[in-house]
Amino acid sequence: MADPIRWARYRWQRLISTEGREGSRPSNSSNKYHQSSKAIGKHRIVIPCLGHFKEEYEKVSKLYMNNKIRTTKYTLLNFLPRNLFEQFHRVANLYFLFLVVLNWVPLVEAFQKEIAMLPLVAVLTIIAVKDGLEDYSKYKMDKQINNLLTKVYSRKEKKYIDECWKNVNVGDFIRLSRNEIIPADMVLLYSSDLDGICYIETASLDGETNLKQRQVVRGYSEQVSEIDPEKFSSRIECESPNNDLGRFRGFVEHSNKDRVGLSKENLLLRGCTVRNTEAVVGIVVYAGHETKAMLNNSGPYYKRSKLERKVNTDILWCVLLLILMCLTGAIGHGIWLSRYSEISFFTIPEPDGKLIPPTLAAFNVFWTMIILLQVLIPISLYVSIEIVKLGQIYLIQNDIDFYHEKTDSTIQCRALNIAEDLGQIQYIFSDKTGTLTENKMVFRRCSIAGQEYCHEENAKRLESYQEMDSEDGDSADHQCGSSMHISKWEGDDCRAVNEPLNRKSVNLLSGSHSALGREDGAGDAPHSGHVAFSSPIETDVIPDTQLLKKFGQISSHSCDQSEASSKLSLETMYITDFFLALAICNTVVVSVPSQPRQKMRLSSLGRMPIKSLEEIRQMFQRLSIRRLSSSPLPNVKESSSESPSSFVSKLSVFRMKMASPALDETAQRAAELHNMDSPENSHVPQELDMVNVAACCEHNSATSSIELSPLPKLCYEAESPDEAALVHAARAYRCILQSRTPDQVTVDFAGLGSLTFQVLHILPFDSVRKRMSVVVRHPVSNKVVVYTKGADSVMMGLLRTASEDTNNSEVEQMKIKERTQKHLDDYARKGLRTLCIAKKVMSDAEYAEWLNHHFLAETSIDNREELLLESAIRLETKLTLLGATGIEDRLQEGVPDTIQALRKAGIKIWMLTGDKRETAVNIAYACKLLEPDDRIFTLKSQNKSPGFSAGLVIDGRTLEHVLHDSLQNIFLELTEKCRAVVCCRATPLQKSVLVRLVRNKLKAMTLAVGDGANDVSMIQVADTGVGIFGQEGMQAVMASDFAVCQFRHLKKLLLVHGHWCYTRLTNMVLYFFYKNVAYVNLLFWYQFFCGFSGTSMTDYWILILFNLLFTSVPPIIYGVLDKDVSAEVLLQLPQLYMMSQKSLAYLPSTFWITLLDAFYQSIVCFFVPYFTYYGSDIDIFSFGNPINTAALFIILFHLLIECKSVTWIHTVVVVGSILFYFVFTLAFGATCKTHNPSSNPYWIMEQHMTDPVFYLVCLLTTCVALLPRYLLRVLQGTLFPSPVLRAKHLDRLTPEEQREAIKRWRDDSVVNCRVELHTISGSSSSVTALETRGSPAGFCTLAQHDLTFPFRKQAF
């Protein structure tokens, strides 16, 4: 028993050390203080603990919690009582306690008092040690978090001093620097950013790696210097703590009673990380367990495995059996005693010399029997189960197939007690991003102006990555890969121009490449994960040759000034705008990795090689004429109407650009030279050309070396990975986003030079509009241009219609639209995330008008959101479609295969994602969750365009209604009939509610898998929570029961380990029942021959130790190591999973058959010796000894019959147990002369060892007892083999035969399933969308109507 404990300790140590390595993320795994805010009412007032507020502060702040968190269950003082209290919640332990107490009653005492306590003490100690270690690791985590340092303003010292997290109080001022973790929820009062913006990374909170902007409270952002807490004289009133991450309401009341509203934009959440911002100051509003992050965790959920619950019911049966047996004993004793009216020799009188009345004696005997037969309730079962689970988990953790070399991580089993639940999963709830996908968005295709560019080279590149992935490529592979790229580039003929330089640049490139490659290798390790979306797979886009050629013509045209065909230039114009839109229409933040998180400021732009401003202006004028926009050319006056500051900055930019004319000239020359010949004969990727341009310039001008390869030096951080992918794609075409500030965007455009766009507005993405827009003033044309990108479903409706005037271009537009739509459909079919890119040119007058309205909307107080929405919609009309993009969120390796296998195993898979519907459905298709011929029902609560794609798709809002009590059942009934359910736009809480619903209402075994903190509550609620080591922190992993590196590992985890763990534990539990019933019945039968007096024919020590020592290890080994079917076969035949899923190994009937067998065996084991020794001079213990010995053999050999595979460990343990038994009984028999108050087994074993009858009795007993079980097993394997038995048989075949057999098996089942399908699926082929108008009632009726729809039953 010591070994598993040591092992467990080791495991915990390792866990702890892992946490240490990952860096400290606040653990909010548990929280019991939800209700703490009850006394405070609806609002909370936050007052700084400063100056004149002091009194009030003291009054108010007492009610608030400080920032200390405690997730542990015990403290040092209360460990013993509380642990005991918790342990005695287990009925079994209570039962044992009861027995111990009972044994202290002299009248019914059956055992020696000490002996009776032995099992209970053993059980309690083992469990207590386990709990203690578990809690200790939590305590260490808490301590680590509580003692993190942060800078808190101290009134005494008048400055910010280091303070532990736990000492932070509500009302404190906290100053954080870049990359620091926010210790508590606070309102942002100052940011070093000039615009009052602070970027935070919420990865540890909601799982999104992108940066979020937070705004300094209005009124404070104008301050130039840092806020002085001493002068802060306002009070903050805000909501009471709640768990809504997306909402924060409150206001700041200044001393002059002015109120400034607060929103979630002003709130920094605990657990997030400050990024890109030098310093921020905030005032704490919620602390500790009241922070939103902590409240968002639905608290710890004690998970008890399904098997354990079932075991408990069966134990109740055993209790019933026990009571029955004891009653028999009591009644029997009463009757027996009533036969003797007088005192006889063997009826011991009471001290007063009289006999006790039979009824009282019977009553006493009842309790005596309960003590005597206590073993019937499997005493060592609980401990054994715990140990077996430890062993199983040890083996799972050591499975090399779960090892992911890239991240050097393997599976972590964090929950020790639910391993067998893995074998019974019926529902899997999966997160999407990062779980099914890699969370790496890759630009795949685009369509511009109706022309598709399929980026084959890029596809090839991706394939090469795939290969590297599959090879688990080490750094050597990366090296090899990059050298391959280099060799390709070396084939470029431009190398001849200036070879030495070229080589230099190549070296540099390859250097950076391999560096990136290395980062990719280690980049998945969480500690380096702070560079978001930056693996080369996402950043390196190889341009499409055709597109690049066309793109190159932009500059060449601008050079020779000759008019090409209008078609070509129109297309060129489209391409230019398209890439500009990609680069501008986003909220990407640019930083330089060498100085992490430093924003690219304008200052560096001056050194960029550019053409003269005049030239660019000419080019764009030329292009804009062809753009057929009706707006007149802007005049200078209009442009001067801009806000003065931006105008000045623009001027300064231009001034700086002009500062290096010499450089410009050389650059231009080089670029021209280069672009002249490149379009004709370059089939290879032209990235190098661009580098060459830069290199040439650098060489000629010899100014500085920094720009040698500016390309890889920029680092983009985007709100969504899609954006990043688009920006990277644009960059590949030399349309490089150089910097972004709230009012300016600078783009380095294809050798033309930097263009600085003045950003007028950003209309951010929202789920209603499904698009975002950026309004900029074009630096060249000086017109207001709107770039919009969004989902095709909405964008296509917003395009300029042809009705106005039908000239050539309009027709052209229509054609483009049609073709683009075709391409979009194609992309969607391929599982790509599609986006439409469009633009619109506005006249200044139009813009001014819109601006007016918009300003009104912004300033209105009532339904501001709606007005803003309206305003945005007004702007985004009459767009000109530029093109579309297809982005791939690459599925993780092996995901479709895994999902298919899991479905074959009879598991229903739901996808719960916060992502938008289109993406979710696309991914669902890609990973074969939905199949093309599935009918898809879409449940929606808005009256929007009904989605006709393909299972059940439901979005967050609808979920809200659906999760209403009245609708739950209908919804579940509906989902039961769908083979896949996709829930999009689901909040973390909704996810968990959904999981709980399925779990509770359908009584199904659920597994939730996710990688981000947004999945935490779902993971905690599910029966089994699986976390994926993602790029998004450790939150999910910390909350999970099992943590794997890849989704595909689920396959083996469930199909193999789940099956094994379940069958092993089931068999072991059944065996335990058998063992105990068989053994206890021996005692029971003896009661019939000793006047039901409760005599045991075995010595008490041996009786107790029989279960604790002699027969406890073999079943444990059996439970840990038994292997009914090999892993290979299990993986190939997922159907086998259904055996364990349906609990076929542990049906109620199995339990009763086991008991029946136990009864039979005990009868044999008792009566063979009984009849043998009947009437002889045998004494009690000499009679008990052969029985006991035979029972040992029977019990151990029974195990061998049940064993599916016998390794040397089994042999050693079984032989060891037998030897141990004999050694013990011999030693005990030789030494105990007075150990026992009653007669003792002195020298009995020794005596028997020399007696041939003893051996003959044991032999016969064992044979006769085991014969039926053996016969049953033989006949079962022959006459009615279960699938598992058949699969077991496969293991013996040669590989070829095996393959053949498996193929045949699969075919069989396919046929079966088809037949089933045919009968079940009806005839309807209509696609139905269930719609509600936001009212639960409406949904209710509709759902009821449509529930009768035929459904496609999933195969297997």
């Binding site: 009826t347 009437g1175 064993c1203």
Partner: protein, 348 residues
Amino acid sequence: MKNKMSFLQQEGEACPSRCPDNSAFRQQRLPAWKPQFTITAVLSTFFLTGMFCLSVGVCLILSANSIREIQIDYSDKCSDCSKLRENSSNWNKECLCSVNFTLKEDILGDVFMYYGLQNFYQNHRRYAISRSDAQLLGQNVNNSYCAPFTTYQNGTPMAPCGAIANSMFNDTFDLFYNLNSSVTQVPLLKTGNSWWTDKNVKFRNPKSYNLSSAFAGTSRPPYWQKPVYLLDEEDERNNGYINDDFIIWMRVSAFATFRNLYRRVRRIRQFADGLPAGNYTFHISYNFPVTKFKARKHVILSTVVWSGGSNPFLGIAYVISGTAATLAGFVITAIHLKLRKRKTYFQK
């Protein structure tokens, strides 16, 4: 800790630190014997078991048949005495009774003489624990398990204490061989009947210069006629706690019907080969009252073989189970042959 970890990580770059061992045990690929129910294995199991059981059974039956045993129930034959004993006030009145029987053939070999009791529940729990092993080892301990036979009301402890000792069987038997009207007493061995370990280790008299002083201050159990140090008046070494009859009685019997070894026939003179055929008489000193609890008393003469006593059960059981196993083997053969023709064996 962090430093340490990163250091380890660097070191372990060649061999990743967390990669599990690729050992057979950890990967659960230990070479395993997978018991398969192949037809040869199954059939050989059944037939071999069957054959073995049959042969052992036959041997056992044969050896059990060689046992000679004679059992005489004297509860009825000594009804006068039993009536006398019903009244406990007559406890010190001697009652003798003799039982005649005839041996039709010789009983050869070692002959053991048992007394048998029927319906005497020595295995009753509270009876069976009513003893003090420590006291019987010669230690002076007061044991609560003996209650209520621990001390007399005046505080004198009982030696030996407890219900078992108190109820010790105290009938005595003498066996007489009547040959041609001359009566010879069959020589019987009093000692050596108990286990050697019991006699020499488990039961010890309290240490003193003589037995009566060793038991000074104690008193005999209430049902006893003599104090414990006078159990065998002829042999000083067979007295006190180490008296063979006492030791044997203290070995609590497993069943309500049991026998205890009383004497062995001493193989001298005409009894050198055992008991010759003829008429015998038991002279029984009837002391042990059993009528109150409807028990019966026997006296038994028996020989013993390697396979135990006269009980033929084991041999019969072996024969039966051997037959069953063989039959099962035939049934399986039949099933196998039938299924093999249908080609549905194991696999569809």
